[in-house]
Symmetry: none
Subunit: 180 residues, 4 copies
């Protein structure tokens, strides 16, 4: 059900991904780095992307703590700040960006799952906010999360801009209150 050195393989995979990006990540490299034969890797995962997908599932690097500051605004600001760090600060940046980027071309790497998993855990933030009366019951958590994460992604990754500390507050403010 699992190769004997799965841990070493996953470690090597993420290490190489962070070090050399998705293109520089090679099955041969992982094999050598993890002290395993190339054929062993192919026996368990059909492709580089599948290997990476499996490695990511078990990777703690991409986890975010779910904050509880007492207010929705505070919670979201913390969340957005943490996500911003994930996208811009090494070594997480390399893994996160490479993995999400690779997901675009490789269906095996299910970026949707990443977002779904996180949303499931963050849901409690919104439940608390509704309970506190900070948010109407009709509000759509996924929409909020996607607006926030999307803006961070475009700024940090596509525009290549620095995500300054104040930006998190700005984004959260815009989403909570509207821009006009």
């Amino acid at each position: 059900m699992a190769p004997r050195k799965q841990r070493e393989i996953f470690d090597a995979t993420l290490r190489l991904l962070a070090a050399k990006g998705f293109d520089g990540l090679t099955v041969e490299g992982v094999a050598e780095e993890s002290g395993v034969n190339k054929t062993t890797i192919y026996r368990w995962w059909p492709s580089k992307a599948a290997l990476l997908a499996a490695a990511l599932v078990e990777a703690p690097a991409l986890d975010l703590d779910v904050p509880d500051t007492g207010s929705l605004r505070g919670d979201l600001e913390e969340l957005v700040t943490a996500f911003g760090r994930l996208l811009t600060e090494p070594p997480a940046r390399d893994v996160a960006v490479a993995a999400l980027g690779a997901a675009i071309h490789h269906a095996e790497i299910d970026a949707g799952r990443f977002f779904a998993d996180r949303l499931a855990r963050e849901r409690v933030i919104f439940e608390r906010a509704v309970r506190r009366g900070e948010l109407p019951e009709s509000a759509d958590p996924m929409l909020i999360v996607d607006l926030l994460a999307g803006a961070m992604w475009i700024r940090g990754v596509f525009r290549g801009m620095e995500l300054k500390p104040g930006f998190a507050a700005e984004v959260v403010g815009a989403v909570l209150d509207g821009v006009r």
Copy 2:
């Protein structure tokens, strides 16, 4: 200053990108498809990514019309709808997603430029809205655009969800009025 068959080369590049994705796009393929020798391509562009970047700059496929519906809400809904189509409907989808995805790993493909170019042209929407009193002068167009485009990207690309017609209105509503 430019290869004699630049047009054919760029056409072939985008055609192959759309057909096979960034990984399936090969310099040899472009050479054959465009009736040019491989060395000629390398004479002008140092890498696959650089070639693609050059091809994209001249590609009309990624252009969006700047709408003028008379209201900010209307303009943004049209813009978001068009961007959603770009991300989900072939053939533009294949080019746009592959190109933006590749940009993550290859600095030569300047996604920032894509967004900057578009923002420059969309700026008039916001100027008109300010003039009409629909938007405070202090509003930040880039923030608005990034919120909108980011949400579309995450939904359409990362979550792999269909972008239903109503979603554009929903997103624009959330950004303009806030979620609570």
Copy 3:
């Protein structure tokens, strides 16, 4: 320890060498001709010259019989005649001349070994001659062989002259008896 199709590879190598000379001999050509992939050849031999060197070692085409006519003069005349044929008559000529010629530029092709191997086997000729009293014990077989082979090489290869039957006797006579 050895590629599975070594025989085919060596055959193709020598065939192409004979047909097109050293410059026309290409690794890709050998690969195709021998039904093997190019990379396989590179896996085993680092260069065209090394491949050829290996092929030559196992090639019977360059072998000469060691004659035993009963007299030194007779033995040497046969030897020289055979060497002359090697240098002038196809298909051996193409292999021998191309190979020895290539050896000049490529250290991997050890022409010295070719001559050393042959000298080792021809040594008995001189031992027999000494026993018969035809040659002083102090005579240097290598010098004799080099004088004979060298003259043939310059005549046949550098001067491009035909090596007429009588020439062998003439050369041997000169070396045995001196020219004055």
Copy 4:
């Protein structure tokens, strides 16, 4: 009738030949080294070998002085010693060996001419020897020269052996007096 910078071209040709061998000698390299456009070289010589052949004709590097020591033995020893140096001491070695080696594969480089030219000039040595009574009139100068030069070639080039000072005398002795 001749390119304007013929001297520079020939110089560059021989310099590169000596430095990098026949294979490392490239038309593009000669063009750059001599400050001439590649097309200019092709306008005048159809191939690398032809260029080299032309350069060699005008090259003084391969000339040998014709000695006059007063005895045939002395003359030949000087000649052989000089030829040995030509074959073993840089930079002449590089040019001479590369050129003669290339001649094997490229008919344009007429090694025969090299030997014929030299023989013509050395003829006087043998005429003097005949006059002195050191050599019968029937002796064949070309045979003598080929025996001597051939032995040196095989030793120095094919066997890759050092040509020690005493070897010249040994070879000349063998040829003049015979080996038994």
